[in-house]
């Protein structure tokens, strides 16, 4: 078969693929990450690349503007290669990797992600004060069992058990055959001085490993939050309870679809499931290895990994086919995955080390939310609280110490920049604050890392829409009012508001916000608000009964509460009732890694949370339509906004 060589710029990454391969597949093979949210179906129009040299066959698409076509833009997924070619990936199509993110460690939005959890800005009070009895996933004990005699002639295994149980209440203990086979010789060779690594396998304590001598000072674990978009990992010193380092990267599964549904569809073919599984495992292994090297550890010193992710992410992590999640009646293979050996999933730590997944509630409310609730302390509140995860799935949890109900609102990716013309994730150059001076028709922008603007992130979008509303440039249906500003003009996607002129942007084009973008945001904010509303109605309460609202998710650290209320994303409550808890999933996962008590609590949370399927709630559709207005069809629900806009 004819082959063709493709070079991807600006990295000059080369790949040779059979002629007729589409450019998106070729890019993935070359290790080039190109933005796309539809899994290569030609629908999202995000995978724009420029053909510099070479011949291509490209399908017609309405996703490219005339101007772009003239410049040689094509959609990577709709274009196949022929012969040798050179492709340029423009900045707006690049999905930047780990290196770039780390460099941005100091950017405000990422504080929660890149520093030890103790330093998370805002709201650590609740998230981190919760102290559970120390009892990590993996514990090391130094043992000196007495050698056997004719009088004391119990077997070596029972002897080790007896030693471990001295002063400890461990009803169920087990050891694998691999260890038992080596046990007698090891005990004698090491002169009856050994270290036993105990692992918590749910109710059972496993003697995971027996090593000669005393290695108790080398016991580390890793907490991982596998988000649909971002993977975050913490390296933790288990006996000291100390977070040594934190790293994050994009979830490389993004290359195969932006949301969980497109990935479930993608995984229907067996080798594609394998692919999704492999890329996430590779990413996690990279994070772990990176942190181990930075702290002079060997992978052998890491004895346990605790993972939280939505139900789909956990299925893919363990290479469990996720297909039934998507089919009625939407059942997962397992909500409570048993603790397994990390090596079984392909995670490279100590070969006997354990992997535990935080239990999930349902197919669409996963362990990340359980962990988030655990970290927030919602399940211990004497008064009513609400937990909102501003992510792609937009989960909402309502309750207190006695009960919890939850739902998933499928808010969509717009809080993370998805589905927005100039939307990008909260990376360097992302506009995150917008101010509009109505009298001078001037726009002040603040970008992450203070660089030239590259696009707009979720928090920036919320800010921008609130400002447009406040300055009388947007009506309550989310339509721009052309006569109100010279910045409003008719673009290729309909009416748009000019945020940044091309000469001031990092991408060489005007950065605008279109009516379609605003509509997408209205749909997302409406889903979250009405999801919360339905949960409250379901239990006969209202927003006014809430004492506390926890806002989780990466976006939360930079979200202006008043503006979020203004557009109707958050209920109209006094600002002091809102608490930002940042990435609560990783905080909760770390707690579970360090404490069996926390893990048991997580199981209880997952077990007692009642899942409300919004698709079967007749109220939801009605509430949802009512919320597709700024801030809401019923303005009396937003008295503070009513005062402001009259």
């Amino acid at each position: 078969m004819e082959k063709c060589k493709i070079i991807f710029y600006p990295w000059k990454k080369e790949v040779t693929v059979p002629s007729g391969t589409d450019l998106l597949t070729a890019a993935i093979r070359a290790g080039v990450n190109i933005y796309n949210s539809c899994g290569g179906e030609g629908v999202c129009g995000r995978c724009k690349v420029i053909v510099r040299k070479g011949e291509v066959i490209t399908e017609p698409t309405g996703r490219l503007s005339a101007e772009e076509r003239k410049k040689g833009y094509v959609l990577a997924c709709r274009t196949t290669c022929k012969g040798r070619m050179e492709i340029e990936v423009p900045p707006e199509s690049r999905l930047e990797g780990l290196e770039i993110l780390t460099e941005e460690a100091k950017a405000k939005r990422l504080v929660g992600l890149y520093t030890p959890a103790e330093e998370v800005e805002k709201g650590p009070e609740v998230a981190l004060e919760r102290v559970f009895t120390h009892g990590p996933l993996s514990t090391k004990l130094y043992l000196e069992p007495s050698p056997p005699t004719l009088e004391d002639n119990v077997g070596d295994l029972e002897r080790v058990y007896r030693e471990i149980r001295k002063g400890r209440e461990i009803p169920i203990m087990q050891m694998g055959l691999a260890n038992i086979k080596k046990l007698s010789k090891l005990l004698r060779d090491s002169n009856w001085k050994v270290t036993a690594t105990l692992g918590n396998r749910n109710e059972t304590t496993e003697v995971v490993l027996i090593e000669p001598g005393d290695t108790t000072n080398k016991n580390y674990g890793v907490a991982v939050d596998i988000g649909t978009t971002t993977i975050v990992a913490y390296l933790v010193n288990l006996p000291e309870r100390q977070v040594l380092g934190a790293k994050a990267c994009y979830n490389p599964q993004v290359d195969f679809g932006e949301d969980v549904i497109s990935r479930i569809i993608f995984a229907q073919e067996k080798d594609r499931l394998e692919k999704l599984h492999h890329v996430v495992i590779d990413a996690i292994n990279n994070l772990i290895l990176g942190m181990a090297l930075e702290h002079d550890l060997t992978l052998n010193d890491i004895n346990g990994v605790a993972c939280a992710g939505n139900t789909t992410m956990v299925h893919l992590l363990l290479r469990v086919p996720p297909e039934y999640l998507r089919k009625e009646p939407y059942v997962s293979t397992a909500g409570f995955m048993p603790v397994i050996r990390a090596a079984e999933a392909g995670i490279k730590i100590n070969h006997r080390g354990l992997l535990c997944c935080i239990p999930g509630v349902s197919s669409y409310v996963g362990g990340d939310i359980t962990a988030g609730v655990l970290a927030s302390g919602l399940d211990d509140l004497p008064t009513l609280g609400l937990f909102i995860d501003l992510g792609t799935n937009g989960e909402v949890v309502l309750g207190n110490k006695d009960w919890l109900v939850c739902c998933s609102t499928s808010a969509g990716p717009c809080f993370e920049g998805g589905g927005i013309k100039w939307g990008i994730r909260a990376m360097k150059g992302a506009i995150q604050r917008v101010e509009i001076n109505p009298s001078r028709d001037k726009v002040n922008l603040y970008t992450i890392g203070k660089g030239k603007p590259k696009g707009i992130c979720g928090a920036g979008l919320v800010d921008c829409v609130a400002e447009l509303m406040k300055s009388g440039r947007l009506n309550r249906a989310g339509k721009l009012i052309p006569e109100s500003s010279k910045r409003i003009r008719e673009g290729e996607d309909g009416w748009e508001f000019l945020l940044v002129e091309s000469k001031k942007s990092a991408v060489g084009q005007d950065i605008v916000i279109t009516e379609t973008d605003i509509k997408n945001l209205i749909h997302s904010k409406g889903a979250i608000y009405s999801g919360a509303e339905v949960l409250l109605k379901r239990v006969g309460l209202s927003f006014q009964d809430l004492e506390q609202v926890f806002i989780a998710g990466g976006l939360g650290t930079a979200l202006d509460v008043e503006k979020a209320i203004m557009i109707g994303l958050l209920p109209d409550l006094p600002p002091e009732k809102f608490i930002f808890i940042g990435n609560s999933a990783i905080a909760g996962t770390r707690m579970c890694l360090l404490s069996q008590e926390a893990m048991i609590k997580a199981e209880k949370i997952a077990g007692k949370m009642t899942y409300v399927d919004l698709s079967t709630e007749p109220e939801f559709m009605n509430n949802y339509t009512a919320s597709l207005f700024l801030p809401h069809t019923d303005i009396s629900l937003f008295p503070s906004v009513k005062k402001l806009i009259g």
């Binding site: 009506n475 309550r476 249906a477 009605n622 339509t625 009512a626 597709l628 207005f629 069809t633 019923d634």
Partner: protein
């Protein structure tokens, strides 16, 4: 036994259509709708000051899709809006007309806004009953036509439409400057209806001059759903939601005569019975259902159907 009655906090807006010389117009009569303080026809519970009214349809061209049964009562006047309007009043006793400017639709004659305005002027000269004027139901074309016809009818306080989300700005501005009331249409959803009312009011247009059209269908085409939407709208008005207190209009004729049940020939489906009475019955049944749901204005076509519905209204308005 004691009657269980509900005391409502508010009422449906009352609206007058038409203007006599006294009000600066050229009409000889007025149409008054709305004002109810209770659900439809519950006279024991509240006041229903104005009975529901019927507006008879007049087109500015011969309707291309009307079945013979519906064309028959009008005969030669079809295609001549002035004669058609006169016939409705003189022969069929209409006191309210709905002039439909169908000829402006790009798929029919694509007539110009000026031609439409001329038609409106002529009709207003010849007849003296209040007028409802609607475009061709193509949002884009209506934005050109309505401002012209609105101006032509200036001072006569007509009911003008149909404003939808895509074109409400132009139509609202026209109605505002020429002193007409407006029909605001949204697709069978109580929230969307309210949203459009808010958008129109936010332009400075008086909410008291809006009539809602919930885009309802005919009997057999989701009527029970539209019925409940209308009922909920009415309940919202009675509970004091000012942005839902508008009277409602239903285009009964347009919908009923689109139904297969009204149009199918006797050869096609003999078991459905004689076509001569089937169509009018379909229109009557649809109309009566909407009366019960809270309709204030019914736009109808067939004279026989109109006669029957008038009698029903008379009966329903009796307080005993």
């Amino acid at each position: 036994m004691e009657k269980a009655t509900e005391k409502w906090a508010s009422k449906v807006n009352e609206l007058i259509i038409g203007a006599t010389q006294k009000e600066g117009g050229t009409r000889n009569s007025l149409i008054k709708v709305g004002g109810a303080t209770t659900l439809p026809f519950l006279h024991f519970e509240g006041v229903i000051p104005n009975p529901p009214v019927i507006a008879m349809e007049v087109w500015d061209m011969e309707p291309p899709d009307w079945p013979a049964v519906l064309k028959e009562p009008f005969g030669e006047v079809l295609g001549d809006p002035v004669e058609w309007a006169k016939k409705c009043i003189n022969e069929y006793g209409a006191n309210f007309l709905c002039l439909r400017l169908a000829s402006t639709h790009p798929d029919t004659k694509n007539n110009s806004p000026e031609e439409a305005a001329a038609t409106v002027k002529k009709v207003l000269e010849v007849v003296s009953v209040p007028l409802m004027i609607i475009g061709c139901n193509q949002a884009e074309k209506d934005t050109e036509v309505i401002p012209a016809v609105s101006e032509a009818a200036r001072g006569d306080n007509c009911l003008v439409g149909i404003a939808v989300e895509a074109n409400y700005k132009t139509i609202t501005a026209a109605c505002q400057s020429d002193g007409h009331s407006i029909i605001a249409e949204s697709p069978i959803d109580i929230n969307l209806a309210k949203q459009l009312n808010i958008l129109i009011s936010d332009m400075g247009f008086s909410p008291e001059k809006i009539i809602m059209h919930p885009a309802t269908g005919a009997l057999g085409y989701g009527l029970e759903y539209t019925y409940s939407i209308m009922e909920r709208s009415r309940l919202a008005a009675l509970q004091g939601d000012k942005m839902m207190s508008m009277p409602m209009v239903n285009f009964v004729g347009q919908e009923a005569w689109r139904a297969k049940e009204a149009k199918a020939s006797e050869q096609e489906i003999p078991e459905w019975g004689p076509i001569a009475s089937r169509g009018p019955l379909w229109e009557v049944t649809t109309a009566v259902s909407y009366l019960q749901a809270g309709a204030d204005i019914l736009v109808m076509c067939h004279p026989k159907a109109i006669d029957s519905v008038k009698k029903v209204i008379e009966e329903l308005m009796k307080k005993e």
